[in-house]
């Protein structure tokens, strides 16, 4: 397949413009596409239970949507959370930007969906991929890192009052209807 044309279609408009302005395409922009394609294939051939991800409907390979099902034995059981992945053009050398799209009540997620997870920040390595990130997030739902909360109240309630926590979770949760 001709990746140069593929890239023209799939690259984010902004990224493409930037590349044009720079006068030359980024040398590894092809490998981003290729890497993401491989990751997608991997997700499809060996899917992990409870998580899935797919590029967004406009065919832009640099922006994905993911779904996590709340694990059993956690306050999130039975809930479905949507997330967005935005891949930088130097992926996998930089982590993707991951946000919860579904409103979620969680010690490490703030009210605009931002996540505090080390592997999405300084602990990121190129060995991680979409699937590992999703699995980490899934386990984060059951075992929040209360040492560095984004949502202090949630962190407190997690430890002190699980009943109240669960109520808050259900109160905050809303299935988002897409498009």
């Amino acid at each position: 397949m001709d990746y140069s044309t593929q890239d023209n279609q799939n690259a984010a408009p902004g990224a493409l413009d930037a590349a044009k302005l720079n006068g030359a395409r980024k040398p590894d922009s092809q490998s981003v596409t290729k890497r993401l394609q491989t990751e997608l294939m991997q997700l499809m051939t060996s899917p992990a239970p409870g998580v899935s991800a797919f590029p967004s409907a406009d065919g832009n390979l640099l922006s994905w949507t993911a779904t996590i099902e709340g694990p059993d034995d956690t306050p999130y059981t039975g809930l479905t959370m949507k997330l967005s992945f935005a891949f930088p053009s130097n992926y996998p050398y930089a982590p993707p930007t991951v946000l919860f799209k579904t409103p979620i009540y969680h010690p490490n997620v703030d009210f605009s969906g931002r996540i505090c997870l080390d592997i999405l920040k300084d602990k990121w390595t190129a060995a991680y991929n979409v699937q590992t990130v999703l699995l980490s997030l899934q386990s984060l739902l059951g075992e929040p890192n209360n040492a560095s909360p984004l949502n202090g109240e949630a962190a407190e309630l997690w430890d002190s009052d699980p009943e109240e926590f669960k109520k808050k979770v259900l109160g905050r949760h809303r299935d988002i209807e897409e498009e």
């Binding site: 397949m1 001709d2 051939t45 899917p47 899935s52 797919f54």
Partner: protein
């Protein structure tokens, strides 16, 4: 009332207009009394008497004399009123008696010069216009019906000849009357002027008297004669048989003579006017068409076959012949015809005809182009013709349009095999290269073909096998179904040499540089040579798919145990130049694996202690070591290999790991080849077979020591459990041995070794199922549901994951087209399904309740 008034008014006005054009007041000839001899006076005083009557000077007498003279003259030149046949007015009145003539002459003098001779005659008329008038009337009343009668004849030549004769006779008659009048003219110039005027009038009348029948007849006759004359220029006419040539020449000159004779008479009677010229032009036009069609349709001989009779050196082959013909035959005939009619042909006209002829020939060639392509390279001459004629962008466009239409209609049909399409494509590449080195024309027509080829799944496979086939396999059976041409091209050293790395920079030393054609598209790049293989490969869609296919094909070939890999190396080299080293790295590694494993195998073989089978024969054991990552996924179907072999494998493994410490061996038992030596009661067989087949037959011989009675007998299930082999493979192996007549099926999935051949004969007679026949089709495996290959099953699973992932994350509901697009775009190898296949698949899923269809969009059911 008002109506009638207006009507009469209109009528009067019409009369006035008519009169302003035609002289109606000219008196009618005096009525003749019946049965008077021509020239004989009737009724009144005889002409002789009249002539001798002393002249009276009385004005009334003048008038009377004039009237009498008028009467004498008009009755003399009076045309016969009734005609029964063409000759009835052809017999001219004899100049019978001198005295009658004298009387006539004196009267004529009076009539001609009324002013001087009879100054007092108050009413005089011009005898010349009277004559014209009467001729006109006579023509309309008598000759036209005759002509019409002529055209009713069946034969066209006859029609033409009788018509001409009739007209000639009429002409003679009319001119006779005129000549009588003119005798009295003293003045030569006035006489000539009168003749010219009369002739012009007459020709105008005759020229307007073309009947449809006559036109048809003339067209037919002209056509026949012109064709005969021009046939002398046919290609066959220049054949070496002198007799025929002379005969044809004489026939041509006969026709030419006849044509010119007809033409002369036509022009004499006044039929050579504008109508005739139009007709002649039409005839000549169709003659040219017919000539080109007759001589050049399907004639694509190359230019060497023609003599040096070329007039202009620009053209070759048929073009030269055509130019020659136009000049020497076509123009000659036209010049002769025109000179008979008193006009001349300019040289520029001849040049123009040449151009017209060449344009027609090129149109013919354009329409034939598809056939030319099909019969390439015998049709080189045709392409030469086209190349010299198709020079303007318009003609190039016409060419590509026509060819595309033909392509669509004749090639891109489901009925055409992919091989045939590819062969045609190769011919197209070559033909168009000969036609137009710039490749612009090819690019323009080839698009539809490329699109179509993408739908043919086997196209790449055929090309790759073609490339890899042995060029010396020229026997028809071998080359059938293969593109052996490609291998031949690949091995053609002359073609190889010309191929060089094309660089983007202009080669300043290239003395053959030409500017890009005006109709070249953007991104146009002038190709260096015809490059059949390159063009073909680039037409097959994306490189990745091609390379993948190539990889899997050479994988099969490399593992097939063929002796050499030169062909593969060569093709790989070619592809590397095209796609770059990195794209073909895997294939490189594959080839190196095969080469390396030979060495490694030899090295390990030396270090291993030789194993012996039960009978003490030394088993030779070789392996090919493949680097897993670089080979296409090979099916792994493990089974229990015979103990001796397993022992060798262990040894082999150990020495390999010793040799290359960081690598491990993983056996693909099912991919190997084995030579089996079978000793049966009445015969010994040595058979090359697959390893699993060998294992199965080995299982029959293994427990013989256990003291069984008669030939060894195994059931399907026994074998299956013992060997832990895939059912399909087991079945295949059993079928193989049955077909080799080593074992036989005794029913109930039980197989017995066929120790003696005659056992089988009895049996075959009994159940009437020949052992070989069972090979094909094979009974359904008892354990495994067939229908879908494992690979397809796996693919369906992956695609389903894709669809679920897509509907979960991208968009909860999607139409078919969008899903197809996403899958095509996101699956790295492209989606191999068509829209219909995807739809079928989705419908299956809907039926299974795993999917819903709402408003034309698919979605996952809510949990």
């Amino acid at each position: 009332m008002v109506m009638t008034v207006t009507n009469s008014k209109v009528h009067a006005r019409r009369q006035k207009v008519f009169r302003s054009v035609f002289e109606t007041r000219i008196s009618q000839p005096t009525p003749l009394l019946p049965a008077t001899e021509p020239g004989q006076p009737f009724g009144g005083p005889s002409a002789a008497f009249l002539a001798n009557t002393p002249r009276l000077t009385h004005p009334a007498n003048d008038q009377v004399r004039w009237d009498r003279a008028w009467h004498v003259v008009t009755s003399r030149i009076q045309l016969p009123s009734s005609v029964a046949a063409e000759d009835s007015f052809g017999t001219l009145a004899p100049d019978s008696s001198q005295d009658v003539d004298d009387a006539f002459r004196s009267s004529l003098l009076l009539v001609l010069n009324p002013a001087s001779a009879l100054p007092n005659a108050s009413h005089t008329e011009d005898i010349l216009s009277w004559h014209s008038q009467q001729v006109r009337q006579h023509f309309v009343n008598h000759v036209l019906p005759l002509l019409a009668a002529c055209t009713s004849q069946g034969d066209h030549t006859q029609v033409l000849l009788t018509s001409i004769r009739t007209l000639e006779a009429a002409n003679r008659q009319y001119l006779y009357g005129l000549s009588l009048i003119l005798r009295a003219f003293r003045d030569e110039d006035a006489a000539n002027a009168a003749v010219v005027k009369f002739r012009r009038d007459l020709h105008a009348v005759i020229g307007n008297s073309w009947t449809q029948g006559l036109l048809d007849a003339l067209r037919d006759v002209l056509n026949r004669l012109a064709t005969d004359v021009l046939r002398a220029g046919d290609m066959q006419a220049s054949s070496p048989e002198p007799d025929r040539e002379e005969e044809e020449d004489s026939q041509a000159s006969d026709s030419r003579g006849e044509l010119l004779r007809i033409l002369e008479s036509l022009s004499k009677v006044g039929l050579a006017g504008e109508k005739f010229q139009t007709l002649f032009a039409e005839v000549m036009n169709s003659c040219m068409d017919a000539f080109i069609q007759r001589n050049y349709a399907g004639v694509w001989t190359s230019s060497d076959d023609f003599g040096a009779s070329t007039v202009s050196t620009v053209f070759s082959g048929c073009m030269a012949h055509l130019g020659d013909w136009v000049e020497n035959h076509y123009a000659r005939l036209t010049v002769e015809v025109f000179s008979r009619m008193g006009s001349k042909i300019e040289w520029s006209d001849v040049e123009m005809w040449k151009n017209v002829a060449i344009a027609r020939l090129s149109t013919l060639r354009i329409h034939e182009l598809f056939d030319i392509v099909l019969s390439w390279p015998e049709s080189k001459g045709g392409v030469e013709d086209l190349r010299s004629a198709v020079t303007t962008p318009q003609r190039r466009l016409q060419l590509t349009d026509t060819f595309s239409a033909a392509l669509q209609k004749r090639l891109l049909q489901p009925g055409r095999s992919t091989l045939y399409i590819l062969q045609t494509y190769i011919s197209m590449i070559r033909t168009f290269h000969a036609l137009d080195h710039s490749k612009v024309l090819l690019d323009r027509v080839v698009h539809a073909l490329q699109l179509y080829l993408c739908q043919r799944d086997d196209a790449i496979r055929i090309v790759v096998t073609g490339l890899l086939s042995h060029p010396k396999e020229t026997t028809p059976e071998d080359s059938r179904g293969k593109l052996v041409e490609l291998a031949a091209i690949l091995n053609d050293a002359s073609l190889q040499q010309r191929r060089h790395v094309d660089d983007d920079d202009l080669d300043w030393n290239d003395m053959l540089w030409l500017p890009d054609p005006v109709d070249a598209g953007v991104n146009y790049k002038r190709p260096k040579n015809e490059d059949v293989i390159g063009t073909l490969i680039s037409a097959l869609g994306s490189h990745d798919i091609f390379i993948k296919e190539f990889q899997s094909i050479i994988a099969t070939r490399l593992l097939s145990g063929q002796p050499g890999i030169q062909q593969e190396v060569k093709v790989l080299g070619l592809l590397k130049r095209r796609f770059g080293e990195s794209a073909l790295q895997n294939c490189d590694v594959m080839l190196r694996d095969i080469q390396d494993s030979k060495r490694v195998d030899a090295a390990i073989g030396k270090s291993m202690e030789s194993q012996q089978d039960q009978d003490g024969n030394i088993i030779s054991f070789h392996s090919k070591i493949l680097s897993r990552l670089f080979w296409p996924s090979l099916p792994k179907e493990p089974f229990t290999v015979p103990e001796t072999v397993a022992e060798m494998q262990r040894q082999y493994e150990a020495s390999f790991e010793h040799l290359k410490s960081s690598r491990k061996l993983n056996w693909l038992d099912n991919l190997g080849l084995a030579t089996v030596h079978l000793e049966l009661e009445d015969r010994t067989l040595t058979i090359e077979c697959k390893t699993y087949e060998a294992t199965v037959i080995y299982a029959f011989g293994q427990d013989e020591a256990a003291g069984e009675q008669g030939p060894a007998k195994r059931t399907f299930n026994d074998l299956w459990q013992k060997l832990m082999i895939d059912e399909d493979l087991l079945e295949e192996a059993l079928a193989f041995w049955v077909s080799q007549r080593v074992i036989r099926d005794v029913g109930e999935q039980t197989y017995v070794v066929l120790e003696k051949l005659e056992d089988d004969v009895e049996n075959a007679g009994a159940d009437a199922a020949p052992a070989t026949g069972e090979m094909e089709g094979g009974p359904p495996s008892p354990r495994k549901a067939k229908g879908m290959s494992a690979k397809e099953q796996e693919q369906r699973g992956i695609y389903w994951q894709f669809i679920v992932g897509m509907l979960t994350n991208s968009s909860p509901a999607m139409p078919l087209a969008q899903m197809m697009m996403m899958m095509k775009m996101l699956i790295p190898d492209g989606c191999s399904w068509s829209n219909e296949e995807l739809q079928d698949f989705l419908e299956e899923k809907i039926a299974a309740g795993e999917l819903e269809l709402a408003g034309g969009k698919y979605r996952l059911p809510k949990k």
